[in-house]
């Protein structure tokens, strides 16, 4: 029963991947090659590649440096800096991009795109590296110092190698996000695979061309995902032994105090100050012209409704898969779990494209329904739910069931009195993460939402693309407001993952 359920969920999660593969095979090698080997594809590949590699490098450097300063030096106000450095996660990249592009059109193009996405995504490196720094056994650094290494050589030869898994993992995650990024890059007029697929689909509904672009994109994503899985496999050695690690005495900043403080201020100013300032500016300007309270409220409500149902559905689907993977380890359980994990490599645009095509061919009745939109959310955000659920279920080891049974509690009573109270916090965290992801989702919602269904993200989008910046601002502000708790949750998750 559990196996059947998980199998079905895994199949659902694999629909987009099946679609891309089957489609590519069905149009034949020659035509596929003709569609792929075009100057346009080469240009997109170069655009996407440059941006992904550049952004991964920059985020790795910025994220690691910021994490080291906050975790290892006597920087004043470290707690506040920590929050400020993570806060850009609460601002979706397309809102950040809006903040910049509505101020100056000079950020259009490669340089601007690189700047904006780096500022949006460096926390994805900062968080795991900071957590790894906290979790490092200080004895290792102390040993290096006692062996005559100075602070710099200690960092380079002892600390940095141990931070590598966190750093690589974070950077690869940045790459995956970037491959899927649509809104920010479209606003900055920088063409990548995702924006090209969208344009192709919107302008001509050109099936084969859009789908072949999607195939190439999925290939790139799978590559990054496999790298990320490899890095995660080696992640274990960061933490030795149990208990609370002693913290290393923090380093005095000395003469570098002013440059470090200036650098951090610049980073936070660019990543947070510019988009927030710009948003505030447009809110003031916009409210003088129009402030459609009724529409804002109804859009917020429909967004919240979608978020709640999407979260509930995703958690329900993830439950059997996670339970099977944690409690009944087997080849099949691992397979179903991995299948859901592949959604990490599927940009919203590909999921949407796949669902549109598959539904039109197989079950036209569900095309343009809320159900299909929810299915897309479930496929895309299953991995997030899985991470939380797995962590939650490891809080309820089977030995506790044995003890409860021995004490006279049957299966139902054991679930109610032991398992549920233990996994409830993780369940809640997972649901919250999915909820927040749904409320800020743009790409799949644009393609799949039934006519008349608007979310904050789509409303913001239709206004900002028609250069109605003032009208777009209230929606952006509401998105940020709703996203704020996500920052808190993500920070907590990252902290917890190092203690396991």
């Amino acid at each position: 029963m559990l196996g059947v359920l998980s199998g079905l969920v895994a199949l659902l999660a694999l629909v987009p991947l099946f679609f891309v593969v089957v489609y590519t095979v069905s149009i034949g090698w020659d035509q596929a090659w003709a569609l792929v080997a075009r100057p346009r594809v080469a240009e997109l590949l170069s655009n996407t590649g440059r941006l992904v590699i550049g952004c991964m490098l920059l985020t790795a450097v910025i994220g690691t440096a910021a994490a080291w300063v906050v975790e290892r030096t006597r920087l004043p106000g470290r707690r506040v800096w920590n929050i400020l450095l993570v806060a850009p996660l609460a601002v979706p990249a397309f809102v950040n991009s809006f903040g910049w592009v509505s101020l100056t059109s000079r950020v259009e193009g490669f340089g601007g795109a690189l700047l904006v996405v780096t500022l949006s995504y460096y926390p994805l490196v900062y968080l795991p590296v900071a957590a790894a720094l906290r979790g490092l056994d200080p004895a290792l650094e102390e040993t290096a110092l006692s062996l005559g290494h100075g602070p710099w050589r200690t960092f380079a030869r002892v600390t940095l190698p141990q931070l590598r898994p966190a750093m690589y993992g974070g950077a690869l995650l940045v790459g995956l996000h970037l491959l899927a990024e649509f809104g920010a890059l479209q606003l900055l007029r920088y063409d990548t695979f995702t924006t090209a697929i969208y344009d192709q689909y919107r302008s001509s509904f050109n099936g084969p061309a859009a789908t072949m672009l999607a195939s190439v994109l999925v290939l790139c994503c799978l590559l990054l995902l496999l790298l990320e899985m490899r890095v995660r496999g080696h992640h274990r050695y960061a933490r030795v032994g149990g208990g609370v690690a002693r913290s290393l005495p923090r380093r005095r900043l000395g003469r570098s105090f002013v440059p470090v403080l200036a650098g951090l201020t610049l980073l936070v100013g660019l990543a947070l100050g510019v988009p927030m300032g710009s948003l505030a500016h447009w809110l003031v300007v916009g409210s003088s012209t129009a402030f459609p309270v009724g529409e804002l409220v109804s859009t917020t409500l429909s967004t919240l409704g979608l978020g709640l149902t999407g979260a509930a559905l995703t958690i329900l689907l993830a439950l059997p898969v996670a339970w099977l993977a944690v409690r009944h380890r087997s080849g099949f359980a691992t397979l179903t779990e991995r299948s859901t994990y592949f959604s990490n490599a599927l940009p919203g645009i590909v999921v949407a494209l796949a669902l549109v095509t598959v539904s039109l061919r197989l079950v036209p009745a569900i095309y343009q329904t809320i159900g299909m939109l929810l299915a897309a959310y479930a496929i895309m955000f299953l991995p997030r739910a899985m991470v939380s659920l797995r962590a939650a279920m490891s809080q309820a080891p089977p030995v506790l069931d044995d003890v409860a049974h021995a004490l006279g509690a049957g299966p139902t009573a054991t679930f109610r009195r032991v398992t549920l109270p233990l996994i409830a916090p993780g369940l809640g965290a997972g649901a919250a993460l999915v909820f927040l992801a749904v409320t800020t989702e743009l790409t799949a919602t644009l393609l799949l939402a039934p006519i008349g269904t608007q979310t904050l993200a789509t409303q913001f989008w239709s206004n900002s693309t028609s250069i109605a910046y003032g009208a777009a601002a209230p929606y952006a502000a509401l998105i940020v407001l709703i996203s704020l708790p996500a920052t808190f949750l993500l920070t907590r998750e990252a902290r917890r993952s190092t203690t396991e």
Partner: protein, 364 residues
């Protein structure tokens, strides 16, 4: 009176048979230790008794009630067993009182008196009842786990290596407290362990398990002094095994003439000497023993074999002395009180105290 009876209990996982027809009787109100190396099937046996697993064949009876037999398997929640797993496994979301009352009927959960009673039984102050499991030390967690298991007055308490995760210093005290609490509660206990000292010192009955079979069941003294075979002998303590020839009530070996029990196998055999049976006395110039002050007076002319001390491992309370016998060059180990430790290089005379066990030689 027997609290628990196992007959022909067999269990396989896939193609590996873990238990080969185990028979065991556990007397009421006693603590029985199941002693064996890791992987011998002892934990599986415990899980079968608890009902977490079903045997492939055999019967399990609690008193006169059959809980597993052909066509019948009582689920664990209806067997009334107390279960104390490794590391306690307290429910992390419940405080100490919540854990202890978990298995009690709903009405009884509110009354605090039983909690106090049980905490006192396991030697913990009442103040801990509001603490959460992570605020307790390892030893305290184990005691609470026992109190929780005892709360519903189970017919049998099963303890699965409960002290393995504790520090050496805590292990003995916690073990003692747990055994005392079981005795005071008049509970029947089964303790699974791989630690010989724990089994011998805490249990009333020891069942030595090997490769899914019970090799010997007896009192700690029987198991140590008269092991069923040499493997059991080596597992429960230090063993010096020597070839010997038995004639009548004596055996002749490189350690001289040894006493053997009445009715021992005659002829060529192997004998088991426990290291603490080998007594050393300093040798005089002519190779005979010098009567040390306080030592057992020697029979004149009954000088034993001599040996050279090769190495002394000093533990404080006692010591292990590795000896090389003069002539044959064979190595044997002796154990004695720490203050009697000889110095390396010293020449000593050996004597074996008390009877030794005799085994038919292994073929080949």
């Amino acid at each position: 009176m027997t609290a628990l009876t196992l007959r022909g209990v067999t269990k396989s996982f896939g193609s590996t048979t873990v238990l080969h027809g185990v028979d065991l009787d556990v007397p009421t109100r006693e603590l029985t230790a199941i002693l064996g190396p890791s992987g011998c099937g002892k934990t599986t046996l415990l899980r079968l008794i608890a009902g977490f697993l079903d045997p492939d064949a055999g019967t399990i009876r609690f008193g006169d009630q059959e809980v597993f037999g052909p066509g019948r398997s009582l689920p664990p929640q209806r067997r009334r067993v107390g279960y104390v797993p490794q590391e306690g496994a307290l429910f992390p979301h419940l405080d100490v009182a919540g854990n202890i009352t978990f298995g009690m009927p709903r009405g009884a959960r509110r009354k605090g008196t039983r909690v106090e009673e049980l905490l006192e039984l396991v030697g913990l102050p009442c103040a801990v009842s509001t603490r959460l499991p992570h605020e307790l030390s390892g030893g305290q967690q184990q005691r609470v786990a026992l109190a929780r298991a005892l709360a519903p007055s189970p017919s049998v308490v099963l303890l699965d290596e409960p002290f393995a995760s504790l520090d050496a210093g805590l292990r003995e005290g916690t073990g003692r407290a747990v055994a005392d609490a079981l005795r005071q509660a008049s509970a029947t206990g089964i303790l699974v362990t791989h630690d010989q000292g724990e089994a011998l010192s805490l249990a009333d009955q020891v069942a030595v398990m090997r490769d899914g079979r019970l090799a010997q069941v007896g009192t700690p003294k029987q198991v140590y002094d008269a092991p069923a075979d040499l493997d059991v002998a080596r597992f429960v303590g230090g063993a010096v095994v020597l070839p010997a020839v038995v004639q009548g009530g004596h055996a002749t070996s490189v350690l001289g003439t040894l006493d053997v029990p009445v009715g021992a196998t005659q002829g060529a055999v192997e004998v088991l000497v426990r290291p603490e049976q080998i007594v050393l006395t300093p040798a005089g110039h002519n190779g005979t023993a010098v009567a040390a002050p306080g030592a057992v007076p020697l029979v004149p002319g009954a000088a034993g074999p001599t040996a050279t001390v090769r190495e002394v491992s000093y533990f404080g309370h006692d010591c292990a002395v590795r000896l090389q016998l003069a002539g044959t060059g064979e190595q044997v180990t002796s154990r004695m009180v720490g203050e009697d430790a000889p110095a390396a290089g010293e020449v000593v005379v050996l004597r074996v105290r008390g009877p030794v066990s005799v085994y038919a030689p292994v073929a080949g």
